[in-house]
Subunit: 162 residues, 6 copies
């Protein structure tokens, strides 16, 4: 069978940790949909269009990855796209608890959807889009933490890191 998975997130902006998850996911799944959450509540630094653009430019031309957006419940999106596997990264204990809660709730709402977790690589265990933005906003160097396209976009937002 052809296996497809959805890798959902805010990607505000995409980091090297996200890209590592995508690479590793593609070692196992035939096709991956990177699904950017459009969440009215959550304040994002980048617009949905900017976030999609940064992911696309960072991934390059790959036939087995699609980039998409979704709003509302993830499981509704899964059903619409007829994909049954969610892919998520786990970094720390706080991740674990939230992810456990979401996975159990999603299973209750849609028992046919399965969530798979991969542990973040050791170099990415302390990396989050939130901390990248925090450092960049104070003029810190985030090269090596995000792909070049995101680095450039962060510099435009915060006015150059050097």
């Amino acid at each position: 069978m052809t296996t497809r998975a959805v890798y959902p997130g805010s990607f505000d902006p995409v980091t090297n940790g996200h890209l590592d998850m995508i690479e590793r996911g593609l070692n196992v799944f035939d096709h991956l949909i990177v699904a950017v959450a459009v969440n009215a509540d959550k304040r994002c630094l980048f617009t949905v269009e900017e976030r999609l653009d940064l992911i696309r430019r960072s991934l390059g031309d790959r036939p087995n990855v699609a980039v998409d957006t979704f709003s509302g419940l993830l499981i509704e999106y899964m059903r619409k796209r007829q994909v049954r596997v969610v892919l998520r990264g786990l970094r720390a204990i706080s991740d674990f608890e939230y992810e456990l809660q979401m996975a159990l709730m999603n299973r209750r709402l849609a028992p046919e959807v399965e969530t798979f977790f991969m542990m973040a690589g050791e170099s990415y265990s302390y990396l989050s889009a939130r901390i990248v933005k925090e450092i960049a906003s104070m003029g810190g160097e985030v090269q090596g933490l995000v792909p070049p396209a995101a680095l450039e976009a962060l510099r435009r937002k915060f006015g150059g890191t050097r």
Copy 2:
């Protein structure tokens, strides 16, 4: 591509939590190898043969599941079987830390092997082979926690639960 995964463990004995993981794994992977660890150090209640037999009788006749044993490093077994996905369950925080350590170490030893985690179902979050044996050894009722074959085997070992 055909996806195969190895689901390793001690299975001393197989529990309903293990069976739930196997069922859910088969929703995603084409073929699953349940791999019983033969560990000279670890004291087990059941012999390797008994453990294999209990898994086989509990799974019934399924063409897409194989039951096997392995000794030594899991990644060596993965290489020998040419499988690149390890499947593991996550129940609690203590699980999480140990699994994180093993996953990071295995990735260092064999970067081509990927470990995927599934959260244990809410009914199995407190269930372990260890606690099943502890209860059964004191004459407690473990029906509903293990498949009928394991229930019968535990009763033979500990002399009937009632």
Copy 3:
């Protein structure tokens, strides 16, 4: 001696997890006061009156449960009501840390007040009023997670889930 306990919370809205705690608390205590926190800071979906009403309609007519409100410090309310036992539920590690901090601080402020914890049932370990509201706001199904009165109220707020 007649034992009474206060079960405090926001109850925004009452969930089946809360009701389970109340039932189990009544197996041990003669009388329970469900105390709705009136907190100027915290933004709630439902007004205090709505929250009280949902609890009352969900509990039905029970002589050994009272529903009340409190503002300010819980221990001041405990003293005013002359109750010495606080009842709290524990779900996860993050709960644990916050509850530990509050329990130690309350003991310092009022050594005569004792906090008792009950572990949430396995079916409620992933359930919180926050996640119920999040799902309902996106049109997800929350039947089975909240009592009928709360289900109806959530549907009125968010415009029907079906």
Copy 4:
């Protein structure tokens, strides 16, 4: 109704943390049974008789506390004694996970039995019978951590702390 609770443990030996739990438990329950686990597997420093004796001498003459032993499953003991409340202390995260597992398993085996937890006082959060024995065995001072009777017994076992 008269409320009774069982406070189970190994008490090898009784510490000031245990005594604090008993005092605080008696503020809420009419009667407490301190139940010493007789566990063939677990290696204890003190015999069951010594452990019982140390508890009795440390508690003094109190009409509302009984000291008893139990073997096998706690819930069978609860049923035999017709008590429905188990009292347990919580110190740290590792406690939390084990206690959660036991509480959920006990509820499955005996839904009528309820487990209540109290957070250990800040002065006892790092105190366990295990660490007391470890320090005493190396000649360290444990005065203030255990009641006088246990202090004396530890000195007899390990040959004086100075």
Copy 5:
């Protein structure tokens, strides 16, 4: 060599837990800089000037402690002041995860800067500036949790606790 360390934080307001860390830090380091973070984003109860003043009045006249402010990245401040040791307190698991993330990120940004952690004393393990403000704002007694200068300042803000 003369050892100097920076003890950074919000100090909104300084608590007895902070003062305990400073005392203990001075047992090891020759000189300590208490560095108040000027963070435009974070809403503080006290102004930077008030926070500096409360720390100074609480520490008294000590030649080996300086009180300063910093904005932006901590590591930039460390470099400017030519100090290579950051001192931080650890209270709980949630602290641990955040501190681990910050320490790893800071090491990446400035490998020459080392972060040292001390465990909060048992009496301060549940104490935070946040909970002090919460209690004081509801008229609760915070004497013994903060130094006299901070106590007085909190009373002025919230209108006297007695």
Copy 6:
């Protein structure tokens, strides 16, 4: 003042994680004593002499590091050596809880002794002497995890890794 610290452990055998801690400790302290615990209870793969030898050969000739052994309570050793700082590494949550318990207990036994923690580097967060021995015993490759001297010693014990 000249600052000295003791870095205690089992070092069975010394790993690259230990060496990283020693290097980083020397950036802050003038002198470090690596103190190998001689513990009758704990079963070690290497004798005390072998462990000392492996540390010495791995550190090379450094005037500001001494290698020593201690038995019994660490705080007694600290007093005898007149050193007031203990240096410890923190990797994970389970580390954290054990270290917190030991630090609080040591402070009670010897208030003048202070324990400082450093977070393990991201490359060493999953590394322990225990897992190194486990992998080596099954013929796995541990090059890069331990210094050459320890690698050679492990190969002698377990008969070559290839």
